[in-house]
Symmetry: C2
Subunit: 204 residues, 2 copies
C-alpha cells in the first residue's frame, strides 16, 4: 500500500511490489537523531514513511536547508548515491520524534531502474524535481534580499496562516543567524505583514 505511491509515481509491477516488500527494512529514529552525517558513506536509499527529516549543509556556526523530507518523500541524495559510491556532503537529522525510514540496498535501486518502468520513472522524476527546485532556490539566494526570502519562506511553510518555528530554526533554514531573523521579523511586523507570538508567526 505505502509503496504504491511515491511522489506521484504509481508502482504497477507486481514483481517490483514483491521485491520492495522483500528487501526493505524499516527503522525508527527519535527526534534529534542524525540520519546521515557529512562525510559518511551512504549505503541505502532512504524514504521517509512518517515524520520529518531536515537535510542541510553546515558551515561553522551556520546552516542552510537543502530540503525537508516529509511523509512519503524520498531522499534525492541517497538515491543519487545509489548509482555511485560516495560520501555524503550533507547532514540529515530527524526533526520529529516518530520517524520511520525504509532502507533499500543500493544494488536493487540500480537494477530496478532498468528492470521496472515505473521505478525508472520514479528515479528520473525525483532527480528532475529536485534539480529544478534547487535551481530556483539558488537564484533566489543570489538575487532576493533576505527579508524577501524570509517572507516567502514563511508563506510557503504556513499552515492556516501560521508558522510554528523559532527564530533560530528559521535562521538555520535560510542560512543566516538568529539575530538577523529577529530583526527582519520585527520589521515585517511593523509593516503589518505578520504578527509575532511565542514560537509562532501569523501571516496577515
Amino acid at each position: 500500500m505505502l509503496e504504491t505511491f511515491i511522489k506521484g509515481i504509481r508502482i504497477t509491477e507486481e514483481e517490483l511490489k514483491e521485491e520492495l516488500h522483500k528487501n526493505a527494512t524499516i527503522t525508527t529514529h527519535k527526534k534529534g537523531d542524525f540520519i546521515i552525517k557529512n562525510n559518511q558513506y551512504i549505503k541505502v536509499l532512504k524514504i521517509v514513511l512518517e515524520g520529518k527529516v531536515r537535510v542541510y549543509q553546515e558551515n561553522e556556526d551556520r546552516e542552510i536547508l537543502i530540503y525537508y523530507l516529509n511523509t512519503m518523500e524520498t531522499c534525492t541524495l541517497s538515491l543519487s548515491a545509489c548509482f555511485e559510491d560516495c560520501k555524503s556532503t550533507v547532514n540529515a537529522i530527524a526533526e520529529e520524534d516518530c520517524t520511520i525510514i525504509l532502507n533499500i540496498p543500493v544494488r536493487f535501486v540500480r537494477d530496478w531502474n532498468f528492470k521496472y518502468k515505473s521505478w525508472n520513472r520514479f528515479t528520473i522524476n525525483i532527480f528532475r524535481q529536485s534539480y529544478l527546485y534547487l535551481i530556483d532556490q539558488y537564484s533566489n539566494l543570489a538575487f532576493q534580499p533576505l527579508k524577501d526570502r524570509l517572507f516567502d519562506y514563511l508563506v510557503s511553510k504556513a499552515h492556516g496562516g501560521v508558522v510554528k518555528k523559532s527564530h533560530q530554526e528559521l535562521a538555520k533554514e535560510l542560512g543566516t543567524t538568529r539575530e538577523v531573523i529577529s530583526r527582519l521579523l520585527k520589521t515585517l511586523e511593523k509593516n503589518k505583514k505578520i504578527h509575532l507570538g511565542q514560537k509562532q508567526i501569523e501571516i496577515v
Copy 2:
C-alpha cells in the same frame, strides 16, 4: 565517433549508435545567439559538440551562472525537460562563435532511457553530477564571502594560471555587479594573490 563518449559514458549498443545517427540533427549558432530563452518551451535534448554555451538565470540587471556547456557536454535542463513538457526557467547563450548543437527529439530520449543500458546510465549520471555540483555551488553562495568565491572561481577557470575574462563577465557569472568585482580584484592584487592586466587576470 563523437557520440561514443559522452560525459565518460560509452555508448556500446550498435543499435543505439544507429539511432543517434538517424535522429540527430546538427545546427550551428553564432556567438551571441540565444540557444534558449527564459519561459520558452524546450523540445529537444541539446548536446554541445563544439564551442561554449552559458546557461544562466537573470534578474533585472544581474545574472548568475548555472553552468557552462563546453565541447561534448550535455545540457542537463534540456535532458530534464525531455521527461516532462515544460518551459525553460533559464537562458542559454552561445559564448563562442562556432557552436554546433545536436538535437534529439524528446520521445527518443525517453524511450532510450529504458531501452539502452548505456543511455540509462548516461541520463542518471548527468542528473547526479549536476545535482551534486549545484548543491556545492548553493552552499558556497550561502556561506562564502564574494571575495573567496571570486578567487576560487578564478582558480577553477584558469588555464596556465591565466583567466581571460573581463570584470563584467565575472560579475555575470558570480551574480554580482562589475564595480564590486573590480574592487575585489584590486584587493586581491594588493594581497599579491593575482596580477591584473587588460581583460586578463594572472594568478600568482
